[in-house]
């Protein structure tokens, strides 16, 4: 899932400071699961904004709506009326959601309430951790299902640097060294031979840059 986290309230408040009619839009997908921008967080945000502005003596009207998903235009259609009435739309979706809202509501100012962090999962209740660097050219079959591109601080493809220490990374010592994890897993599976060949430089053209990447499925097009 995409994992996100609320911006500090002061930052959010400054984004909507000039406006009196705010529409807070939540998203029912990833950010609901990571407890950053679902229905509950939307209500908390709305309440917090009213309290802040009430305290300043500049009352504000806050409408709320949580759509199934912000990253697909048809789910934004039901927002049309509320968006029309609002001066600003505060998206509590990920960066993708903010942009889809901005595209749909060309005449409305759209601002983000969240910082979009990474593609990851739930390591334990209340802890989310990054797992995928979205590089567009998966190497997990070579590394025992553990991604060095994103889990190694230096994205090394040919083994650990000299800073792997006691199984941890020198950069953040509570972070496991990805290459120690890879080594241990391949050893356990009897597949250490995978680590012998020199992996050539990665083709990063499938990763970021060159404008937005696209996936097209002809059979799914209308």
């Amino acid at each position: 899932m995409i994992v996100a986290e609320r911006k500090p309230m002061e930052a959010v408040a400054s984004l909507v400071a000039p406006y009196e009619r705010i529409l807070v839009v939540g998203c029912g997908e990833c950010v609901t699961v990571c407890m950053a921008g679902g229905e509950k967080e939307v209500e908390v945000m709305a309440s917090a904004l009213r309290l802040m502005r009430g305290k300043e003596g500049r009352p504000v009207t806050v409408e709320t709506e949580t759509v199934q998903r912000q990253c697909e235009p048809e789910y934004l259609v039901p927002l049309d009326k509320k968006a029309e009435a609002a001066e600003v739309i505060l998206s509590m979706g990920c960066g993708v959601g903010v942009q889809f809202l901005a595209e749909r509501f060309a005449q409305r100012w759209v601002v983000p309430a969240l910082d979009t962090k990474f593609a990851g999962g739930v390591r334990e209740a209340g802890v989310w951790e990054e797992r995928c660097g979205l590089c567009g050219d998966c190497v997990l079959h070579l590394t025992g299902g553990i991604c060095p591109v994103i889990r190694c601080s230096k994205s090394l493809l040919n083994g650990p640097c000299g800073g792997s220490h006691g199984g941890n990374c020198e950069i953040k010592r509570e972070t496991r060294c990805a290459w120690q994890l890879i080594y241990d897993r391949l050893k356990g599976l009897g597949r250490l031979e995978l680590l012998t060949p020199v992996l050539p430089p990665k083709d990063w053209s499938t990763a970021r840059d060159g404008g937005p990447r696209q996936v097209v499925r002809e059979d799914a097009r209308l």
Binding site: A48, M52, G54
Partner: protein, 157 residues
């Protein structure tokens, strides 16, 4: 502090302890401040951050959640969940400038009538020191009765 300030305090109280303790306090004829309005919850773990914030929006000067003694929750861990949520909302209240001190979590058992009264006095004293909530001041300055905040839309989730 406003002259003759009488705080409004909402006490979200667990049915199994604080709510029962309020009854005990009543039957013991213990006095506690009239400022405290008790709202019954089936468990303190039912408390939602939005409920706490809404109480402040409606003009409460202070809010507290009263749950069972730690280890004695009727639903195992409800009071521990409540404690963490209260801590998070306290931080949020600090962030938005209302002050986390206006919110607190207390623990007691159903038989602790005197403790219930004591908590009510303790929180009332604290809120008296903090003064009226700026929200309530604004509401009354505009001549609006608390509870009809025009900015609020929609029902509780």
């Amino acid at each position: 502090m406003a002259e003759g300030f009488e705080p409004k305090i909402v006490a979200f109280s667990c049915y199994y302890c604080a709510y029962a303790a309020a009854d005990v306090a009543g039957s013991m004829r213990l006095e506690y401040p009239a400022a405290v309005r008790v709202v019954e919850l089936p468990c303190s773990g039912k408390i939602d951050p939005v409920l706490l914030l809404r109480a402040f929006e409606e003009g409460a000067d202070g809010v507290y959640v009263a749950g069972c003694l730690e280890g004695d929750c009727h639903f195992q861990r409800g009071n521990l969940r409540a404690k963490k949520r209260v801590a998070r909302v306290k931080a949020l209240l600090d962030e938005i400038g209302l002050g986390g001190d206006r919110l607190e979590m207390f623990n007691l058992s159903g038989s602790m009538g005197p403790r219930f009264a004591e908590i009510a006095r303790e929180m009332t004293e604290r809120v008296r020191r903090l003064g009226p909530s700026p929200i309530r001041e604004r509401l009354s300055a505009r001549g609006e009765a608390a509870g009809t905040n025009p900015g609020r839309e929609g029902d509780l989730p």
